[in-house]
Amino acid sequence: MKETHKFINFLLFFSSLLTSLLIIFILFFLLSAGLKLFKSISPKEFFFHPVWNPTGYFKNEYGLLPNLWGSILVTFLALIIAIPVGIFSAIFLSEELKKISWLYNLVKGIIELFAAFPSVIIGFFGLVYLAPLIQNLFSLSSGLCVLNGGIILALMCLPTIISICEASISQVPLIYKEAGYALGVSRFQTTLKIVLPTAKSGIIAGILLGFGRAIGETMAMLMVLGNSPITAKSLFSPTRTLTTTIAIEMGETAKNTPHFFALFMLGVILFIISFIVNLIGNYFAQKRIKLII
Protein backbone atom coordinates (compact mmCIF):
# COMPACT_ATOMS: atom_id res chain seq x y z
CA MET A 1 0.00 0.00 0.00
CA LYS A 2 2.68 2.39 1.06
CA GLU A 3 4.83 1.33 -1.89
CA THR A 4 2.07 2.12 -4.39
CA HIS A 5 1.62 5.47 -2.74
CA LYS A 6 5.31 6.23 -3.07
CA PHE A 7 5.37 5.08 -6.67
CA ILE A 8 2.43 7.29 -7.65
CA ASN A 9 3.99 10.20 -5.86
CA PHE A 10 7.19 9.67 -7.79
CA LEU A 11 5.26 9.43 -11.06
CA LEU A 12 3.49 12.71 -10.38
CA PHE A 13 6.70 14.41 -9.33
CA PHE A 14 8.47 13.11 -12.42
CA SER A 15 5.80 14.37 -14.84
CA SER A 16 5.71 17.82 -13.32
CA LEU A 17 9.51 17.93 -13.36
CA LEU A 18 9.46 16.94 -17.02
CA THR A 19 7.06 19.74 -17.89
CA SER A 20 9.05 22.40 -16.10
CA LEU A 21 12.32 21.11 -17.58
CA LEU A 22 10.79 21.21 -21.02
CA ILE A 23 9.92 24.88 -20.59
CA ILE A 24 13.38 25.67 -19.26
CA PHE A 25 14.96 23.87 -22.21
CA ILE A 26 12.83 25.80 -24.68
CA LEU A 27 13.89 29.05 -23.07
CA PHE A 28 17.51 27.95 -23.05
CA PHE A 29 17.31 26.92 -26.70
CA LEU A 30 15.68 30.22 -27.68
CA LEU A 31 18.24 32.27 -25.80
CA SER A 32 21.29 30.37 -26.99
CA ALA A 33 20.25 30.75 -30.63
CA GLY A 34 18.99 34.31 -30.21
CA LEU A 35 22.04 35.66 -28.45
CA LYS A 36 24.28 34.50 -31.31
CA LEU A 37 22.78 37.36 -33.28
CA PHE A 38 24.91 39.77 -31.31
CA LYS A 39 28.04 38.28 -32.81
CA SER A 40 27.05 39.85 -36.13
CA ILE A 41 25.22 43.01 -35.09
CA SER A 42 25.27 45.10 -31.95
CA PRO A 43 22.38 44.88 -29.45
CA LYS A 44 21.93 48.60 -30.02
CA GLU A 45 21.17 48.05 -33.67
CA PHE A 46 18.72 45.25 -32.93
CA PHE A 47 16.84 47.16 -30.25
CA PHE A 48 16.83 50.64 -31.78
CA HIS A 49 17.22 50.40 -35.55
CA PRO A 50 13.86 51.34 -37.05
CA VAL A 51 13.98 49.06 -40.12
CA TRP A 52 13.46 45.34 -40.47
CA ASN A 53 14.84 44.27 -43.83
CA PRO A 54 16.72 40.99 -43.46
CA THR A 55 17.16 40.38 -47.19
CA GLY A 56 18.14 43.84 -48.34
CA TYR A 57 19.89 44.49 -51.66
CA PHE A 58 22.75 46.46 -50.16
CA LYS A 59 22.48 45.76 -46.48
CA ASN A 60 20.55 43.44 -44.18
CA GLU A 61 18.77 45.29 -41.40
CA TYR A 62 17.46 43.61 -38.26
CA GLY A 63 15.52 46.23 -36.30
CA LEU A 64 13.19 44.93 -33.62
CA LEU A 65 11.06 48.07 -33.50
CA PRO A 66 8.73 47.65 -36.51
CA ASN A 67 7.74 44.18 -35.34
CA LEU A 68 7.41 45.11 -31.69
CA TRP A 69 5.44 48.23 -32.56
CA GLY A 70 3.12 46.19 -34.77
CA SER A 71 2.50 43.71 -31.95
CA ILE A 72 1.88 46.43 -29.40
CA LEU A 73 -0.35 48.48 -31.68
CA VAL A 74 -2.57 45.58 -32.68
CA THR A 75 -2.76 44.18 -29.17
CA PHE A 76 -3.67 47.48 -27.57
CA LEU A 77 -6.24 48.23 -30.24
CA ALA A 78 -7.73 44.81 -29.53
CA LEU A 79 -7.81 45.49 -25.79
CA ILE A 80 -9.38 48.93 -26.26
CA ILE A 81 -12.23 47.16 -28.03
CA ALA A 82 -12.31 44.00 -25.91
CA ILE A 83 -12.04 45.41 -22.38
CA PRO A 84 -15.25 47.47 -22.29
CA VAL A 85 -17.19 44.94 -24.35
CA GLY A 86 -15.85 42.10 -22.21
CA ILE A 87 -16.61 43.73 -18.87
CA PHE A 88 -20.09 44.83 -19.91
CA SER A 89 -20.88 41.36 -21.23
CA ALA A 90 -19.58 39.82 -18.04
CA ILE A 91 -21.81 42.13 -15.96
CA PHE A 92 -24.80 41.40 -18.14
CA LEU A 93 -24.20 37.66 -17.98
CA SER A 94 -23.73 37.41 -14.25
CA GLU A 95 -26.21 40.03 -13.10
CA GLU A 96 -29.04 39.69 -15.60
CA LEU A 97 -28.88 36.60 -17.74
CA LYS A 98 -28.22 34.29 -14.81
CA LYS A 99 -31.88 34.62 -13.86
CA ILE A 100 -32.78 32.67 -17.02
CA SER A 101 -30.55 29.71 -16.40
CA TRP A 102 -30.97 27.81 -19.69
CA LEU A 103 -30.17 30.92 -21.73
CA TYR A 104 -27.25 31.75 -19.45
CA ASN A 105 -25.79 28.28 -19.90
CA LEU A 106 -26.31 28.47 -23.64
CA VAL A 107 -24.60 31.85 -24.02
CA LYS A 108 -21.76 30.83 -21.73
CA GLY A 109 -21.32 27.63 -23.68
CA ILE A 110 -21.12 29.54 -26.93
CA ILE A 111 -18.55 31.97 -25.53
CA GLU A 112 -16.41 29.14 -24.24
CA LEU A 113 -16.76 27.33 -27.54
CA PHE A 114 -15.55 30.47 -29.28
CA ALA A 115 -12.38 30.36 -27.22
CA ALA A 116 -11.63 26.97 -28.72
CA PHE A 117 -12.27 28.17 -32.27
CA PRO A 118 -9.30 27.53 -34.59
CA SER A 119 -7.63 30.87 -35.14
CA VAL A 120 -7.23 30.21 -38.86
CA ILE A 121 -11.01 30.28 -39.22
CA ILE A 122 -11.29 33.59 -37.43
CA GLY A 123 -8.48 34.90 -39.64
CA PHE A 124 -10.36 33.62 -42.64
CA PHE A 125 -13.39 35.61 -41.55
CA GLY A 126 -11.20 38.73 -41.27
CA LEU A 127 -9.69 38.17 -44.68
CA VAL A 128 -12.87 37.42 -46.58
CA TYR A 129 -15.53 39.55 -44.83
CA LEU A 130 -13.93 42.19 -42.67
CA ALA A 131 -11.22 43.29 -45.13
CA PRO A 132 -13.59 44.28 -47.96
CA LEU A 133 -15.84 46.01 -45.44
CA ILE A 134 -12.99 48.12 -44.05
CA GLN A 135 -11.70 48.76 -47.57
CA ASN A 136 -15.04 50.13 -48.77
CA LEU A 137 -15.90 51.96 -45.57
CA PHE A 138 -12.68 53.97 -45.49
CA SER A 139 -11.91 53.89 -49.27
CA LEU A 140 -8.59 52.13 -48.87
CA SER A 141 -6.54 50.20 -51.37
CA SER A 142 -6.63 47.21 -49.06
CA GLY A 143 -8.55 46.24 -45.96
CA LEU A 144 -5.66 44.23 -44.57
CA CYS A 145 -4.41 46.57 -41.89
CA VAL A 146 -3.92 47.30 -38.21
CA LEU A 147 -7.63 48.04 -37.72
CA ASN A 148 -8.62 44.67 -39.16
CA GLY A 149 -6.04 42.94 -36.98
CA GLY A 150 -7.25 44.78 -33.88
CA ILE A 151 -10.86 43.81 -34.46
CA ILE A 152 -10.03 40.17 -35.17
CA LEU A 153 -7.75 40.00 -32.16
CA ALA A 154 -10.43 41.60 -29.97
CA LEU A 155 -12.80 38.83 -31.04
CA MET A 156 -10.17 36.27 -30.13
CA CYS A 157 -9.37 37.52 -26.65
CA LEU A 158 -13.00 38.34 -25.73
CA PRO A 159 -13.87 34.80 -24.59
CA THR A 160 -10.94 34.80 -22.15
CA ILE A 161 -11.83 38.22 -20.79
CA ILE A 162 -15.55 37.48 -20.53
CA SER A 163 -15.12 34.07 -18.89
CA ILE A 164 -12.70 35.21 -16.22
CA CYS A 165 -14.48 38.51 -15.49
CA GLU A 166 -17.83 36.76 -15.36
CA ALA A 167 -16.57 34.13 -12.93
CA SER A 168 -15.12 36.80 -10.73
CA ILE A 169 -18.23 39.03 -10.78
CA SER A 170 -20.45 36.04 -10.05
CA GLN A 171 -18.36 35.24 -7.01
CA VAL A 172 -19.01 38.61 -5.37
CA PRO A 173 -21.09 37.54 -2.39
CA LEU A 174 -24.76 38.49 -2.46
CA ILE A 175 -24.41 40.04 1.00
CA TYR A 176 -22.29 42.87 -0.47
CA LYS A 177 -24.97 43.67 -3.02
CA GLU A 178 -27.69 43.48 -0.40
CA ALA A 179 -25.71 45.88 1.77
CA GLY A 180 -25.68 48.31 -1.15
CA TYR A 181 -29.38 47.99 -1.91
CA ALA A 182 -30.26 48.32 1.78
CA LEU A 183 -28.45 51.67 1.83
CA GLY A 184 -30.77 52.93 -0.88
CA VAL A 185 -28.10 52.62 -3.58
CA SER A 186 -29.39 51.87 -7.07
CA ARG A 187 -28.49 48.65 -8.86
CA PHE A 188 -26.33 50.54 -11.32
CA GLN A 189 -24.33 52.25 -8.59
CA THR A 190 -24.08 49.04 -6.57
CA THR A 191 -22.66 47.21 -9.57
CA LEU A 192 -20.30 50.03 -10.46
CA LYS A 193 -19.04 50.92 -6.99
CA ILE A 194 -19.30 47.70 -5.02
CA VAL A 195 -19.43 44.70 -7.32
CA LEU A 196 -16.76 45.79 -9.80
CA PRO A 197 -14.19 46.92 -7.18
CA THR A 198 -14.74 43.68 -5.27
CA ALA A 199 -14.16 41.68 -8.44
CA LYS A 200 -11.20 43.87 -9.41
CA SER A 201 -8.46 41.24 -9.11
CA GLY A 202 -10.36 38.83 -11.31
CA ILE A 203 -11.08 41.51 -13.89
CA ILE A 204 -7.41 42.50 -14.06
CA ALA A 205 -6.45 38.83 -14.35
CA GLY A 206 -8.93 38.41 -17.21
CA ILE A 207 -7.57 41.43 -19.06
CA LEU A 208 -3.95 40.35 -18.66
CA LEU A 209 -4.63 36.79 -19.73
CA GLY A 210 -6.57 38.20 -22.70
CA PHE A 211 -3.51 40.30 -23.48
CA GLY A 212 -1.36 37.18 -23.28
CA ARG A 213 -3.64 35.47 -25.75
CA ALA A 214 -3.56 38.46 -28.10
CA ILE A 215 0.16 39.09 -28.18
CA GLY A 216 0.92 35.47 -29.00
CA GLU A 217 -1.63 35.10 -31.78
CA THR A 218 -0.04 34.25 -35.12
CA MET A 219 -2.21 32.61 -37.72
CA ALA A 220 -5.08 35.07 -37.75
CA MET A 221 -2.67 38.01 -37.76
CA LEU A 222 -0.82 36.50 -40.68
CA MET A 223 -4.04 36.56 -42.65
CA VAL A 224 -5.37 40.02 -41.87
CA LEU A 225 -2.43 42.35 -41.27
CA GLY A 226 -1.08 42.69 -44.80
CA ASN A 227 2.38 41.67 -43.60
CA SER A 228 4.49 44.65 -44.70
CA PRO A 229 7.43 44.94 -42.34
CA ILE A 230 6.93 48.65 -41.79
CA THR A 231 6.37 50.80 -38.74
CA ALA A 232 2.65 51.43 -38.90
CA LYS A 233 1.74 55.11 -38.62
CA SER A 234 -2.02 54.76 -38.85
CA LEU A 235 -4.77 52.26 -38.22
CA PHE A 236 -5.05 51.70 -41.96
CA SER A 237 -1.45 50.78 -42.55
CA PRO A 238 -0.44 47.15 -43.00
CA THR A 239 2.07 45.91 -40.49
CA ARG A 240 3.73 42.89 -38.98
CA THR A 241 3.93 41.55 -35.48
CA LEU A 242 6.66 39.60 -33.70
CA THR A 243 4.76 36.41 -34.30
CA THR A 244 3.96 36.90 -37.97
CA THR A 245 7.52 37.85 -38.87
CA ILE A 246 8.79 34.65 -37.32
CA ALA A 247 6.12 32.59 -39.03
CA ILE A 248 6.65 34.15 -42.43
CA GLU A 249 10.43 34.13 -42.53
CA MET A 250 11.54 31.12 -40.54
CA GLY A 251 10.82 28.70 -43.36
CA GLU A 252 12.85 30.62 -45.89
CA THR A 253 15.96 31.54 -44.00
CA ALA A 254 19.20 29.61 -44.05
CA LYS A 255 20.21 27.99 -40.80
CA ASN A 256 22.76 29.70 -38.56
CA THR A 257 22.74 32.99 -40.41
CA PRO A 258 22.23 36.35 -38.65
CA HIS A 259 18.70 36.36 -40.07
CA PHE A 260 17.99 33.00 -38.44
CA PHE A 261 19.33 34.22 -35.11
CA ALA A 262 17.43 37.49 -35.37
CA LEU A 263 14.17 35.56 -35.70
CA PHE A 264 15.05 33.65 -32.54
CA MET A 265 15.71 36.93 -30.81
CA LEU A 266 12.21 38.10 -31.79
CA GLY A 267 10.99 34.89 -30.18
CA VAL A 268 12.90 35.72 -26.99
CA ILE A 269 11.27 39.16 -26.81
CA LEU A 270 7.84 37.61 -27.36
CA PHE A 271 8.55 35.00 -24.70
CA ILE A 272 9.58 37.64 -22.19
CA ILE A 273 6.48 39.75 -22.82
CA SER A 274 4.00 36.90 -22.54
CA PHE A 275 5.87 35.41 -19.59
CA ILE A 276 5.66 38.64 -17.59
CA VAL A 277 2.07 39.36 -18.52
CA ASN A 278 0.93 35.83 -17.69
CA LEU A 279 2.82 35.92 -14.44
CA ILE A 280 1.07 39.11 -13.36
CA GLY A 281 -2.25 37.76 -14.66
CA ASN A 282 -1.87 34.59 -12.63
CA TYR A 283 -0.88 36.58 -9.57
CA PHE A 284 -4.17 38.46 -9.77
CA ALA A 285 -6.10 35.27 -10.50
CA GLN A 286 -4.62 33.71 -7.34
CA LYS A 287 -5.41 36.79 -5.34
CA ARG A 288 -8.99 36.58 -6.47
CA ILE A 289 -9.26 33.00 -5.29
CA LYS A 290 -7.88 33.96 -1.88
CA LEU A 291 -10.34 36.81 -1.56
CA ILE A 292 -13.27 34.52 -2.26
CA ILE A 293 -12.13 31.80 0.14
Binding site: L183, V185, I194, L291
Partner: protein, 248 residues
Protein backbone atom coordinates in the same frame (compact mmCIF):
# COMPACT_ATOMS: atom_id res chain seq x y z
CA UNK B 1 -47.49 56.70 21.42
CA UNK B 2 -47.10 57.04 17.68
CA UNK B 3 -47.34 54.08 15.35
CA UNK B 4 -44.44 54.08 12.85
CA UNK B 5 -44.97 50.91 10.83
CA UNK B 6 -48.26 49.18 10.27
CA UNK B 7 -48.98 45.86 8.53
CA UNK B 8 -52.57 45.63 7.28
CA UNK B 9 -53.88 42.22 6.19
CA UNK B 10 -50.49 41.55 4.69
CA UNK B 11 -49.70 38.20 3.05
CA UNK B 12 -46.72 37.05 1.03
CA UNK B 13 -46.00 34.04 -1.17
CA UNK B 14 -42.81 32.66 -2.64
CA UNK B 15 -44.27 31.20 -5.81
CA UNK B 16 -47.25 29.18 -4.59
CA UNK B 17 -45.94 28.76 -1.06
CA UNK B 18 -47.50 31.05 1.55
CA UNK B 19 -44.82 32.53 3.82
CA UNK B 20 -46.72 35.27 5.64
CA UNK B 21 -50.39 34.81 6.37
CA UNK B 22 -52.59 37.84 6.89
CA UNK B 23 -50.30 39.80 9.19
CA UNK B 24 -51.71 42.72 11.19
CA UNK B 25 -49.10 44.46 13.26
CA UNK B 26 -48.48 47.97 14.60
CA UNK B 27 -44.90 48.85 15.43
CA UNK B 28 -44.50 51.87 17.72
CA UNK B 29 -42.07 54.70 17.05
CA UNK B 30 -38.72 54.99 18.86
CA UNK B 31 -38.98 51.68 20.61
CA UNK B 32 -37.37 48.32 20.09
CA UNK B 33 -39.75 45.74 18.71
CA UNK B 34 -38.51 42.17 18.64
CA UNK B 35 -39.88 39.57 16.28
CA UNK B 36 -39.21 36.07 17.53
CA UNK B 37 -40.19 32.60 16.59
CA UNK B 38 -38.72 29.26 15.55
CA UNK B 39 -36.68 29.05 12.35
CA UNK B 40 -38.68 29.12 9.19
CA UNK B 41 -41.61 30.97 10.73
CA UNK B 42 -41.23 33.94 8.37
CA UNK B 43 -39.77 36.47 10.78
CA UNK B 44 -36.87 37.47 8.52
CA UNK B 45 -39.23 37.68 5.54
CA UNK B 46 -41.50 39.95 7.55
CA UNK B 47 -38.56 42.19 8.42
CA UNK B 48 -37.41 42.34 4.81
CA UNK B 49 -40.87 43.53 3.76
CA UNK B 50 -40.33 46.77 5.62
CA UNK B 51 -37.59 47.90 3.21
CA UNK B 52 -38.82 45.72 0.36
CA UNK B 53 -35.65 43.67 0.16
CA UNK B 54 -37.87 40.73 -0.77
CA UNK B 55 -38.30 42.36 -4.16
CA UNK B 56 -34.91 40.89 -5.08
CA UNK B 57 -36.30 37.36 -4.90
CA UNK B 58 -38.00 36.19 -8.08
CA UNK B 59 -41.66 35.10 -7.90
CA UNK B 60 -42.59 36.99 -4.78
CA UNK B 61 -46.27 37.90 -4.53
CA UNK B 62 -47.71 40.18 -1.90
CA UNK B 63 -51.19 41.24 -0.93
CA UNK B 64 -52.25 43.82 1.64
CA UNK B 65 -50.48 46.93 2.86
CA UNK B 66 -47.42 47.95 4.80
CA UNK B 67 -47.66 51.54 5.97
CA UNK B 68 -44.77 53.67 7.18
CA UNK B 69 -45.94 57.03 8.47
CA UNK B 70 -49.34 56.17 6.96
CA UNK B 71 -47.91 55.72 3.50
CA UNK B 72 -48.25 52.35 1.79
CA UNK B 73 -44.76 51.31 0.75
CA UNK B 74 -46.20 48.70 -1.61
CA UNK B 75 -48.12 51.25 -3.67
CA UNK B 76 -46.97 51.77 -7.23
CA UNK B 77 -45.38 55.18 -6.98
CA UNK B 78 -43.03 54.43 -4.09
CA UNK B 79 -39.40 55.26 -4.73
CA UNK B 80 -37.48 52.22 -3.51
CA UNK B 81 -34.23 54.13 -3.09
CA UNK B 82 -35.70 56.75 -0.79
CA UNK B 83 -37.63 54.07 1.09
CA UNK B 84 -34.38 52.22 1.77
CA UNK B 85 -32.64 55.42 2.74
CA UNK B 86 -35.35 55.94 5.33
CA UNK B 87 -35.32 52.30 6.48
CA UNK B 88 -31.79 51.11 7.22
CA UNK B 89 -30.89 47.48 7.61
CA UNK B 90 -28.24 45.36 9.30
CA UNK B 91 -27.85 41.75 8.30
CA UNK B 92 -27.34 38.46 10.05
CA UNK B 93 -23.77 38.07 8.85
CA UNK B 94 -21.61 41.20 9.18
CA UNK B 95 -21.13 42.47 5.63
CA UNK B 96 -18.85 45.50 5.53
CA UNK B 97 -17.67 46.30 2.02
CA UNK B 98 -14.10 45.23 1.24
CA UNK B 99 -13.02 48.86 1.58
CA UNK B 100 -11.59 50.94 4.41
CA UNK B 101 -13.58 51.67 7.55
CA UNK B 102 -13.93 55.28 6.47
CA UNK B 103 -15.03 54.36 2.94
CA UNK B 104 -17.63 51.94 4.26
CA UNK B 105 -19.52 54.78 5.87
CA UNK B 106 -18.64 57.50 3.39
CA UNK B 107 -19.99 55.40 0.52
CA UNK B 108 -23.67 55.81 1.42
CA UNK B 109 -23.12 59.45 2.35
CA UNK B 110 -21.61 60.23 -1.05
CA UNK B 111 -24.35 58.40 -2.94
CA UNK B 112 -27.02 60.35 -1.07
CA UNK B 113 -25.08 63.59 -1.61
CA UNK B 114 -24.51 64.52 2.01
CA UNK B 115 -22.09 67.33 2.83
CA UNK B 116 -19.39 67.34 5.55
CA UNK B 117 -18.71 63.68 4.97
CA UNK B 118 -15.75 63.40 7.30
CA UNK B 119 -17.66 64.80 10.30
CA UNK B 120 -20.62 62.57 9.55
CA UNK B 121 -18.44 59.48 9.32
CA UNK B 122 -16.95 60.23 12.72
CA UNK B 123 -20.34 60.99 14.22
CA UNK B 124 -21.75 57.71 12.91
CA UNK B 125 -18.81 55.82 14.40
CA UNK B 126 -19.28 57.56 17.74
CA UNK B 127 -23.01 56.84 17.70
CA UNK B 128 -22.28 53.19 16.96
CA UNK B 129 -19.89 52.96 19.97
CA UNK B 130 -17.06 52.08 17.62
CA UNK B 131 -15.03 55.25 17.27
CA UNK B 132 -12.65 54.69 20.19
CA UNK B 133 -11.71 51.26 18.89
CA UNK B 134 -10.99 52.32 15.29
CA UNK B 135 -10.03 55.99 15.41
CA UNK B 136 -6.38 55.24 14.59
CA UNK B 137 -7.18 52.84 11.74
CA UNK B 138 -9.91 54.67 9.85
CA UNK B 139 -8.22 53.99 6.53
CA UNK B 140 -7.47 50.31 7.17
CA UNK B 141 -9.59 47.61 5.61
CA UNK B 142 -12.84 46.96 7.42
CA UNK B 143 -12.29 43.23 6.89
CA UNK B 144 -9.56 43.29 9.55
CA UNK B 145 -12.07 44.14 12.28
CA UNK B 146 -13.52 41.49 14.57
CA UNK B 147 -17.02 40.19 13.91
CA UNK B 148 -18.56 42.36 16.61
CA UNK B 149 -16.75 45.45 15.37
CA UNK B 150 -17.81 44.69 11.81
CA UNK B 151 -21.41 44.43 12.92
CA UNK B 152 -21.22 47.78 14.72
CA UNK B 153 -19.60 49.23 11.59
CA UNK B 154 -22.59 47.99 9.61
CA UNK B 155 -24.83 49.80 12.10
CA UNK B 156 -22.71 52.93 11.74
CA UNK B 157 -23.00 52.64 7.97
CA UNK B 158 -26.75 52.31 8.23
CA UNK B 159 -27.31 55.21 10.65
CA UNK B 160 -24.91 57.55 8.84
CA UNK B 161 -27.47 58.30 6.16
CA UNK B 162 -30.02 59.31 8.79
CA UNK B 163 -32.71 56.66 8.51
CA UNK B 164 -35.80 56.72 10.68
CA UNK B 165 -36.20 52.98 11.03
CA UNK B 166 -33.48 50.44 11.67
CA UNK B 167 -34.06 46.79 10.82
CA UNK B 168 -31.78 44.27 12.51
CA UNK B 169 -31.88 40.72 11.17
CA UNK B 170 -30.47 38.46 13.90
CA UNK B 171 -27.53 40.83 14.23
CA UNK B 172 -25.89 38.90 17.06
CA UNK B 173 -26.22 35.37 15.74
CA UNK B 174 -22.61 35.28 14.53
CA UNK B 175 -21.16 37.03 17.59
CA UNK B 176 -19.65 35.87 20.87
CA UNK B 177 -21.31 36.82 24.21
CA UNK B 178 -19.13 39.90 24.85
CA UNK B 179 -19.68 41.30 21.36
CA UNK B 180 -23.38 40.53 21.75
CA UNK B 181 -23.52 42.44 25.03
CA UNK B 182 -21.90 45.47 23.38
CA UNK B 183 -24.33 45.28 20.50
CA UNK B 184 -27.33 45.08 22.83
CA UNK B 185 -26.04 48.07 24.77
CA UNK B 186 -25.83 49.93 21.46
CA UNK B 187 -29.38 48.94 20.51
CA UNK B 188 -30.55 50.26 23.85
CA UNK B 189 -28.87 53.59 23.15
CA UNK B 190 -30.10 53.89 19.56
CA UNK B 191 -33.77 53.45 20.36
CA UNK B 192 -33.92 57.06 21.54
CA UNK B 193 -33.41 58.18 17.94
CA UNK B 194 -34.66 55.33 15.77
CA UNK B 195 -37.54 52.93 15.51
CA UNK B 196 -35.83 49.57 15.78
CA UNK B 197 -37.18 46.23 14.63
CA UNK B 198 -35.04 43.26 15.53
CA UNK B 199 -35.48 39.67 14.46
CA UNK B 200 -34.14 37.05 16.79
CA UNK B 201 -34.69 33.41 17.55
CA UNK B 202 -33.05 33.94 20.91
CA UNK B 203 -35.84 34.73 23.34
CA UNK B 204 -33.52 35.86 26.15
CA UNK B 205 -32.19 38.44 23.76
CA UNK B 206 -35.69 39.52 22.86
CA UNK B 207 -36.50 39.84 26.56
CA UNK B 208 -33.34 41.89 27.20
CA UNK B 209 -33.49 44.38 24.37
CA UNK B 210 -37.09 44.87 23.35
CA UNK B 211 -39.98 46.99 24.58
CA UNK B 212 -42.50 45.25 22.37
CA UNK B 213 -42.45 41.74 21.21
CA UNK B 214 -44.11 39.75 18.43
CA UNK B 215 -44.24 36.00 18.28
CA UNK B 216 -44.59 34.30 14.92
CA UNK B 217 -45.32 30.70 14.14
CA UNK B 218 -45.58 29.12 10.67
CA UNK B 219 -46.18 32.43 8.92
CA UNK B 220 -48.78 33.68 11.36
CA UNK B 221 -48.45 36.45 13.87
CA UNK B 222 -49.50 34.64 17.02
CA UNK B 223 -49.03 37.27 19.63
CA UNK B 224 -47.94 40.87 19.95
CA UNK B 225 -47.68 43.10 23.00
CA UNK B 226 -45.42 44.71 25.55
CA UNK B 227 -42.44 42.46 26.12
CA UNK B 228 -43.12 41.96 29.82
CA UNK B 229 -46.73 41.00 29.12
CA UNK B 230 -45.79 38.52 26.41
CA UNK B 231 -43.15 36.91 28.55
CA UNK B 232 -45.06 36.85 31.84
CA UNK B 233 -48.61 36.27 30.66
CA UNK B 234 -48.59 34.85 27.12
CA UNK B 235 -52.14 34.67 25.81
CA UNK B 236 -51.56 31.92 23.30
CA UNK B 237 -50.61 28.33 24.06
CA UNK B 238 -48.03 28.31 21.24
CA UNK B 239 -46.23 31.33 22.66
CA UNK B 240 -46.17 29.74 26.07
CA UNK B 241 -44.72 26.52 24.66
CA UNK B 242 -42.05 28.45 22.77
CA UNK B 243 -41.11 30.49 25.81
CA UNK B 244 -40.91 27.43 28.00
CA UNK B 245 -38.61 25.80 25.46
CA UNK B 246 -40.89 23.07 24.14
CA UNK B 247 -39.68 23.91 20.62
CA UNK B 248 -37.45 26.53 19.13
Amino acid sequence: MEIKIKFENFSLWFGEKPILKNINLEIPEKNVTAIMGPSGCGKTTLLRCINRMNDLIPNVKVCGKVLIDDENIYSENVNLLSLRKKVGMVFQKPNPFPKSIYENIAFGLKIHKFKNIKERVIKALIDANLYDEVKDNLYHSALNLSGGQQQRLCIARAIAIEPEVLLLDEPASALDPIATAKLEELIHKLKKSYTIVIVTHNMQQAARVSDYCAFMYLGELVEFGKTEDVFVRPKDKRTEDFLSGKYG
